[in-house]
């Protein structure tokens, strides 16, 4: 059943190559189908697998659905559903790539095999590069391709070393057998670099502003769903498979990511690129929390990531629409009050002002850090937030209050207005009742750290054999 999440989008993508006129409808249908399938498996609690070709694990590839991959798949598919409902001009000509991306992201999140995850990561890279090339953003897409290819090579190298050390490619099997000593070191470091490019760690994140700032569809998809998948994989690999080793490097890299991302955002004068840098910094925050390795830390990391993904969706949606409808953005929110209110609410959530979801995640993260006697992370986070206040307020003031040059008011498509406002309200609701997300991320964190039940679940849920 869960393999349908991967198979159906892939099939639809191939079909749409021949039946181009229907690709938009196909995309919406496929996304809807995926969401329904995911929702039907609400928080399974136990580990469910689908052994491909009925080959018993650890032989053959298996897809794993536990609480953690469920949550990730849910977020990814919901985002793609929203993207598929966006107006046609946003994604015209790119629906095939987006469907492939949908299938590949689902595969990446659900897979239980390292080489399989490499394959899906490569598909993600290629389709993401294609999507990034919209609006003639060729140079930045090309740079992303090169960097993504290199990242893929390191990811593959890490997989090969893991295979060489343990004799298996199956995540559960490797978790059971365990790596040690220098092979553990090599594998974790190479995975940090390989995933780090996708997870936007410093200094591997050079591609981000060019790709996110290049057109209106790539940040909405790449900055939200794909980032979530990459950071999920970070938690899965370091939490479940490697039992929490190799995390120090991740911690240091993520702290530097946070500060450099925010400082680079401060000087940026283009709207989409500013919030691309903000994505980098927030990915750093999430990675820093993941690198702490405790259940509560992971819980808060993914809670923060969910809040960030929602806020970024609103921001990139509104910004993408405005940047390509108006030449001059000064005072543009006076023409579009609803979009402006949603955008402002999302940016305030990003900063962590009370009344919005970001406050809940930031406060809890600081509390958690202090309770583990980590005095550095809260200081870095608060300095980064102070810098964030600077550019968020600067942009809000410019977009609301600056004198506008006269331009015709573009009509706002209904879905853009609806989604931005609905998600902004969701941010307020999460502030009032954070358990809406915290329950889910709690289960996710537990599942990520519970190597034993992962291993048992994979090996016991066996159908067929060799």
């Amino acid at each position: 059943m869960i393999s349908l999440l991967v198979a159906v989008p892939l099939l639809a993508a191939f079909v749409s190559l021949f039946w181009k006129k229907a690709s938009d409808v196909l995309f919406s249908l496929v996304a809807l189908f995926n969401v329904i399938v995911v929702l039907s498996k609400w928080f399974p609690g136990v580990v469910e697998i689908h052994a491909m070709g009925n080959w018993k694990p650890p032989f053959g590839i298996n897809l794993v659905l536990d609480d953690a991959s469920f949550y990730a798949a849910l977020i990814v598919n919901l985002i793609f559903l929203m993207v598929s409902s966006l107006p046609v001009e946003t994604k015209k000509g790119y629906e095939t790539s987006l469907m492939l991306l949908l299938g590949a992201t689902n595969g990446f999140v659900l897979t239980g095999d390292l080489f399989n995850s490499f394959v899906f990561m490569e598909i993600i890279t290629i389709t993401a590069v294609t999507t990034a090339a919209k609006r003639e953003n060729f140079y930045n897409a090309y740079k992303y391709l090169i960097l993504g290819g290199i990242a893929g090579s390191f990811y593959l190298l890490a997989t090969i070393f893991a295979y060489g050390a343990t004799g298996s490619l199956n995540m559960a099997h490797i978790a059971m057998v365990g790596l040690s000593g220098s092979s553990l070191l090599a594998v974790t470091m190479l995975y940090t670099i390989g995933l780090g490019v996708e997870a936007k760690l410093f200094p591997l994140n050079g591609w981000v502003p060019g790709v996110y700032g290049g057109n209106e569809v790539s940040p909405i998809v790449l900055g939200t769903a794909v980032s979530f998948a990459a950071l999920y994989m970070l938690g899965r690999l370091f939490g479940t498979v490697f039992h929490g080793s190799g995390l120090n490097t991740l911690y240091v890299l993520s702290l530097v990511t946070i500060l450099t991302g925010e400082m680079a955002a401060l000087r940026e004068s283009r709207l989409l690129r500013t919030f691309a840098y903000s994505s980098v910094a927030q990915a750093g925050v999430v990675a820093a929390m993941i690198s702490k390795g405790t259940e509560n830390a992971l819980n808060l990391a993914y809670f923060h990531l969910t809040n960030d993904v929602i806020a970024k969706f609103v921001i990139f949606l509104v910004a993408g629409f405005l940047v390509y409808s108006y030449r001059d953005l000064n005072g543009v929110f006076r023409k579009h009050k609803l979009l402006g209110i949603s955008f402002s609410m999302a940016t305030f959530s990003l900063v962590g002002f009370p009344m919005f979801a970001g406050f809940q995640s930031k406060i809890r993260m600081i509390m958690e850090a202090f309770s583990t006697k980590d005095f550095l992370f809260p200081a870095v986070l608060l300095i980064a937030t102070a810098i964030e206040v600077g550019y968020v307020i600067r942009w809000n003031v410019r977009l609301w209050f600056e004198e506008e040059t006269f331009e015709e008011r573009s009509k706002v498509p209904l879905t853009i207005g609806f989604f931005s406002f609905a998600l902004a309200i969701l941010l307020v609701v999460v502030f009032l009742q954070p358990d809406v997300f915290l329950e889910g991320t709690q289960k996710m964190a537990k599942a990520l750290l519970d190597t034993e039940s992962y291993v048992n679940g994979v090996f016991s849920a066996v159908k067929g054999g060799m």
Binding site: G206, L382, R394, P434
Partner: protein, 626 residues
């Protein structure tokens, strides 16, 4: 109605008022005013000592209504309700009326929440709500305000986040966020270094918000460029949030007992002394910079810096007279500052300009505005019979008694300086010659005059009969255990006690009244000055040229306006002063340039550079970890 519901109800009401204001802004402003009025009456009915725990937003929110809460809420609401009444007419000059109404009420809700918070997280939540709402009002009117608000936002963020860090540092050590719990924890803690760190981090929020050196530079531009009536709120009420933080760290957390081993001078502990030193510098900077300003509002913004210094000094001495003086000064500065800014708003409403050099002689056209401004500056300068005298007198007494001669000298200097700088707008705007273009200016509308007149009357009444407010402050002081056996106010005998004896405020007022009556009698007996029409020779042929003009034929009497650079000689003495503003702006630029460097090295270059960074990272990581 439960205690905690008040700020929450006001918050939801603000959204409703936004919608109402979209239809009719007058209705919205009126509703705002009624809500404020209701709140101020409700605040009187709240019982002291009420404690409430709410499980809201997944956090443990604790509210407590103490004497301190009541005092601060009363002062804040007095200013805010006056401004709300003022705004019902003034808002017609603004563009974003609905948002203004909404955010003003949110500022009120946030402030009330801060004053009733019993634990530091609740305080932080409501603090941020108030700050965010003010951030959105400041850029509403003027173009330059848009840059100023970013500086304000960042400096406020620096103070607030230092406060947050200190809060969690204390939480981690003492296990509680409740203010009394932390006070208890600090009393039992022996590590002075840790306590000092927490103290300084917590007071950073107060320093940033009250505009104390070194985080004072945002006040000039923000208060100066905010919408005029809102500057009243910023200067009169917002600063009190910072003062509240100082009260918390100095008195509610009893700094005398917590830091009793590190007293520096005359029984004052080291951290208090650091704050007093910062207060001293603020007084000097505020006074000297205010003397220089041409823009009326920026001048008064610096006055807020100086008065913030006074309040800090008063509270920091931990002396009963100083404490009561500082607390009373909170009220006096709030009222005087609010009236002064409202008077400016009224003048600007009528004359459409903000520069002193363009005005003059408005006493003829706006006499009531002139009178309220005059009484407020008398209060601010500390001259009887206004209430400002009493608070400043108490602070002086405390400083002299403690033997703090440097601080006392600076306080006196600041007081004289304050009269210098508040007099200049008076002379420049109201006295002197009325420019021809303002010949048709009318007095400010009644609905704008009423709040100003009421506030001045309250200040005047308290200057003659300060006992109601002194009793309230005394209750606070005894509660906080600052020399509880020393009683200052004595209403039955009409005496205010000091250290060298006591004095009778009614008697002082009586002497001033007698002096005023004598002067008035002399004024009416002696011949009046004659009004000379300088343009008469233009209109009527054959009018003799007047001796007043030195035999010159005057074409444009407006050019003979002399009220601009009165203190030029004094200003020249410190003309080449080092600029703190430039230093802090340099810091901002540092971050900006660091971002530029990061961008050019890591984010901009070609794909081969990206590959280079990947390889470097890989090598570095392996080298470090191996």
């Amino acid at each position: 109605m439960a205690l905690g519901l008040l700020p929450l109800v006001l918050l939801t009401l603000s959204i409703f008022i936004y919608l109402v204001s979209k239809m009719s802004w007058k209705m919205g402003a009126l509703l705002n005013f009624l809500a404020g009025l209701f709140t101020i009456l409700y605040v009187f009915t709240l019982k002291v000592g009420t404690f409430e725990k709410l499980d809201l937003f997944g956090l443990n929110i604790q509210f407590e209504w103490t004497n301190v809460s009541f005092y601060f809420s009363f002062v804040s609401l007095l200013v805010i309700v006056s401004v709300m009444l003022f705004s019902t007419k003034w808002l017609e000059t603004q563009k974003y009326r609905a948002s203004y109404n909404m955010f003003l009420l949110m500022v009120t809700a946030g402030s009330l929440g801060v004053f009733m918070a019993a634990d530091l997280i609740t305080l932080y939540v409501f603090w941020e709500i108030a700050v965010l709402s003010s951030l959105l009002i400041v850029p509403m009117e003027k173009k330059e305000a848009r840059k100023a608000v970013v500086v304000y936002a960042v400096m406020s963020a620096v103070g607030t986040y230092a406060f947050l860090y200190g809060t969690f540092l204390a939480y981690q050590r003492y296990g509680t966020l409740n203010i009394h719990g932390i006070a208890q924890g600090m009393l039992n803690d022996t590590s002075i270094g840790f306590k000092m760190a927490v103290f300084l981090l917590l007071s950073a929020a107060g320093i940033a918000k009250s505009g104390i050196f070194p985080l004072h530079i945002w006040l000039r531009e923000t208060h100066g460029l905010a919408p005029n009536a809102f500057s009243s709120v910023l200067s009169g009420q917002f600063i009190k949030l910072g003062n509240y933080i100082f009260l918390l760290v100095l008195s509610v957390i009893p700094s005398l007992k917590v830091f009793s081993e590190v007293t520096v001078y005359s029984g004052i502990p080291l951290p208090n002394y650091i704050l007093i030193a910062l207060g001293n510098v603020s007084i000097v900077i505020g006074t000297l910079m205010a003397i220089k300003q041409d823009d009326m509002k920026m001048l008064m913004a610096y006055s807020s810096v100086a008065n913030g210094g006074y309040i800090l000094i008063g509270i920091g001495t931990m002396d009963p007279l100083g404490f009561e003086g500082g607390m009373f000064h909170i009220f006096n500065h709030a009222v005087a500052s609010a009236v002064i800014f409202m008077a400016f708003a009224a003048v600007i409403y009528r004359t459409k300009t903000q520069k002193i050099s363009e005005m003059g002689g408005l006493i003829h056209k706006m006499p009531v505005t002139f009178l309220v401004y005059l009484f407020s500056i008398i209060s601010l300068a500390g001259i009887p019979p206004m209430s400002g005298f009493i608070s400043k007198w108490m602070i002086y007494q405390a400083l002299v008694r403690k033997g703090m001669f440097i601080t006392a000298f600076l306080a006196f200097f600041g007081s004289i300086g304050s009269f210098l700088y508040v007099f200049r707008p008076l002379a420049g705007v109201f006295l002197g010659q009325l420019p021809r273009k303002y010949r048709d200016v009318k007095e400010a509308p009644a609905v704008m005059l009423t709040p100003m007149v009421l506030l001045v009357l309250i200040s005047f009444f308290l200057g003659v009969w300060p006992f109601p407010i002194l009793q309230a402050i005394e209750k606070i002081r005894v509660d906080l255990d600052v020399a509880p056996s020393f009683k200052i106010s004595d209403p039955e005998n009409w005496l205010v006690k000091g250290f060298a004896g006591s004095w009778n405020p009614v008697l002082v007022f009586g002497l001033f009244l007698v002096g005023f009556i004598v002067a008035y009698i002399l004024y009416s007996l002696f011949p009046r000055p004659k009004k000379v029409d300088l343009l008469a020779p233009h209109r009527e042929e054959g009018t003799p040229i007047n001796i007043y003009t030195g035999g010159e034929f005057i074409y444009n009497p407006d050019l003979y306006h002399y009220n601009t650079k009165f203190y030029a000689g004094f200003e020249r003495m410190y003309e080449k002063h080092p600029s703190w503003e430039k230093l802090l702006k340099m810091f901002g630029k540092l971050f900006h340039d660091a971002g530029e460097w990061i961008h050019s090295w890591f984010f901009e270059p070609s794909s081969s550079a990206y590959t280079f960074w990947v390889v470097v990272t890989l090598l570095l990581v392996f080298w470090v970890r191996w």
